[in-house]
């Protein structure tokens, strides 16, 4: 596991925790929960840029390269999709949808690490 994974571990769990708490407190999605999901997207963006730089620098991906990039693209689509889905109906349930983003991104980052090394 590399630094990118640990960044996503922290940001993802934090985002999931914040969104879960907001959902349990019966709050609708607000700036805090949406921004926490945006932070997950930023963490993924850092992973994306870092990975592109590493590939250009000549570092090989141990596993299937297209599988790695497939995970990356799918993971990066999750936060915008969840935010879109949650603002269509702003109820506490949408915060649980947002909460799913952090852990999902975390699991996908773990898989991406496995593929890379």
């Amino acid at each position: 596991m590399d630094a990118y994974f640990y960044i996503l571990l922290v940001v993802g769990l934090l985002s999931t925790g914040v969104c879960l708490a907001a959902g349990i407190l019966k709050k609708a999605p607000n700036d805090v929960t949406i921004l926490s999901v945006a932070a997950v997207e930023v963490a993924l963006l850092v992973y994306l840029v870092g990975s592109i730089i590493r590939v250009i620098a000549g570092e090989p991906i141990a596993g299937e390269a297209w599988e790695f990039w497939g995970y990356m693209v799918t993971a990066m689509l999750l936060p915008p999709a969840a935010v879109y889905w949650s603002i269509l109906e702003r109820t506490r349930w949408s915060n649980f949808v947002l909460a799913a983003v952090g852990v999902t991104a975390l699991v996908m980052a773990a898989r991406m690490n496995q593929i890379w090394y």
């Binding site: 299937e64 599988e67 497939g70 799918t74 999750l78 969840a82 889905w85 269509l88 109906e89 109820t91 349930w93 949408s94 649980f96 949808v97 799913a100 999902t104």
Partner: protein
């Protein structure tokens, strides 16, 4: 009659007698359910596609099963999001198939690990996915029962 198909996200309440009332499946907790199903539909499809394209001859049965599971999740996601009693029936069918699938494949993968390598969403009752595949159809059925057309809304 003309605007039956317009899926109003705001649940119309007990007064609705048909299309409006059945729209209540995609609001509130239903949105969370649909979102989780969507994630499974995407990940199962991607996994099945990858397995079939790269290593199909290794375990054709397991990978066809992966593809079937992916299809079930896609149908469940779409039908849960749609209004109307026809889509309700499709949802019930998809979720029941999902439940039977995870139970049968889960049991087979425990008793006959050779024929069922741990490579489908449903293997070992979905252990690779934190048992979400096992819990999801049960939650789905509970949700569908509570929001069944002509159920609570018209009985109340």
């Amino acid at each position: 009659m003309k605007d039956q198909r317009t899926a109003s996200p705001a649940g119309q309440g007990p007064a609705g007698d048909g299309p409006a009332a059945s729209n209540s499946r995609n609001t509130g907790p239903g949105r969370l359910l649909i979102a989780v199903y969507a994630v499974f539909a995407i990940s199962a499809s991607a996994r099945a596609g990858y397995q079939i394209l790269t290593k199909f001859p290794e375990a054709p049965l397991a990978y066809l099963l992966s593809a079937f599971a992916a299809l079930v999740y896609v149908v469940a996601t779409v039908s849960l999001a749609k209004a109307g009693s026809t889509w309700f029936k499709v949802s019930v069918a998809a979720v029941l198939v999902e439940l039977v699938g995870v139970l049968v494949v889960g049991a087979l993968s425990v008793f006959d690990p050779v024929a069922f390598p741990h490579e489908t969403v449903w293997s070992l009752f979905g252990r690779g996915y934190a048992f979400v595949p096992l819990v999801l159809p049960i939650l789905g059925l509970v949700w569908l029962y509570r929001r069944r057309p002509g159920g609570l809304a018209s009985a109340a």
